[in-house]
Amino acid sequence: MDDAELVDRLKRYDAQAVSLIVERYGAALHRYVAAIVADSHLAEDIVAETYMRMLERIGDYKMTGAPFRAWLYRIAHNLAVNAVTRDRSVPGDALLARSEALSSNPAEAFEREELHETLRRSLKTLTDEQQQVLLLRFVAGMSIAEVAQQLHRSEGAVKQLQLRALRALGRLLGAAEVSDG
């Protein structure tokens, strides 16, 4: 089912289309939101809320050539940013606990989670736009062209944003390694 048909059926609140869109984008959206809010349970709530908002606004949605998921990610991003803004003390502990529970080697899990915690802290020091480019590119797995559509920027501008964001993040991670080491 392509985007046009999917949107058409969603406008009729078709149950099959709803199931399909949750199945198609749910996991990726969750990864994206979890990277922002650093809380898997909260991310799940936000993903569910994203789909609710989608249904409530689908009547006004018009196909403009951009992929439908770009619209979904925009809703999810706004909800996630609002959640973080509302509660800046969102702990990453929940994510850590779930992650550790999934790992068979606690020491390895701890080391990995330490890196991820550093990564999340470093991400937060970037500009909003830089964070969004990195999350859309490397967490949501979008191409440069898709990110450009999502952010209403040219592909060249997105490449420049990506370069600066990765450069800043690389420096921050390197500095963190030195201080830890």
Partner: protein, 244 residues
């Protein structure tokens, strides 16, 4: 191509190769000049790809979203049923057209009433002044000049009816009972009532004393038109008194 552009091209190529499954080291080997800058960037990108996110409970999400979809579907169905096929805009247009029609009819009624009251018969010349409506009662010294549209005494002198329930249909009754309960005309002392032309019918009772109007000959009280307005004072004072 400057260093920034070289770095941008190298980063682009390496990210693409890593996405296809190549290692970071293999890519760095092909860009020795940019390695020092490229390496931390590529490792940061690789770290981002490994950001953990336990698989979400998609079933729970799906259930809640499906429930919401069912609510919205139901609401949409009941909303469309309540409009019973007529589009909202059409309903609005019909109501607006009816309202406009009612306004137009009201305006026409008012206009016709006004034109009827001011209309004079060809035989009867207009009164010398618009404020001299009491021409037929001129013999009465203090004829109350009631410029009322529907129940004015002067209309009784006019052979042509004044449109609606004009007192002219009962010409003899007019001087008798011009009961105007609401309209108090201004003192019309300045009015000189020279009767230019007598109406075909003689004035009902030119010399009848006002107080005896109800019993005046030719003016049966029962035939008195239900004049709704006009000063029915017969006290000859000419001022606006209250008729309680």
């Amino acid at each position: 191509m400057d260093d920034e552009e070289k770095l941008l091209a190298a980063l682009d190529a390496c990210l693409e190769r890593i996405e296809r499954g190549e290692s970071v080291d293999a890519c760095l080997r092909d860009y020795p000049g940019e390695r020092s800058e490229l390496e931390p960037m590529l490792r940061a990108a690789a770290s981002l790809r490994t950001l953990p996110a336990p698989p979400p409970d998609l079933d729970a999400i799906e259930r809640s979203v499906l429930a919401r979809a069912a609510e919205l579907r139901l609401a949409a169905t009941s909303a469309s049923a309540s409009t019973s096929g007529l589009p909202y805009s059409t309903t609005f247009l019909i109501v607006a057209a009816l309202a406009a029609l009612a306004l137009l009819m009201g305006a026409l009624l008012i206009l016709s009433a006004l034109s009827g009251s001011t209309q004079r018969s060809p035989q009867a010349p207009p009164p010398p002044s618009a404020t001299v409506p009491a021409i037929p009662t001129a013999p009465i010294p203090s004829a109350s000049p009631t410029p009322s549209v529907t129940a004015s005494p002067e209309a009784s002198a006019s052979p042509t009816p004044a449109g609606e329930a004009s007192p002219t249909t009962q010409p003899t009754a007019m001087p008798v009972a011009p009961p105007t309960a609401t309209f108090q005309p201004p003192p019309a002392r300045t009015v000189e009532p020279p009767p230019p032309v007598r109406p075909p019918e003689p004035s009902p009772m030119p010399g009848a004393p006002p107080a005896a109007a109800p019993s005046a000959p030719g003016a049966p009280p029962a035939a008195a038109p239900p004049a709704p307005s006009g000063d029915d004072d017969d006290d000859d004072d000419g001022d606006d008194d209250d008729d309680d």
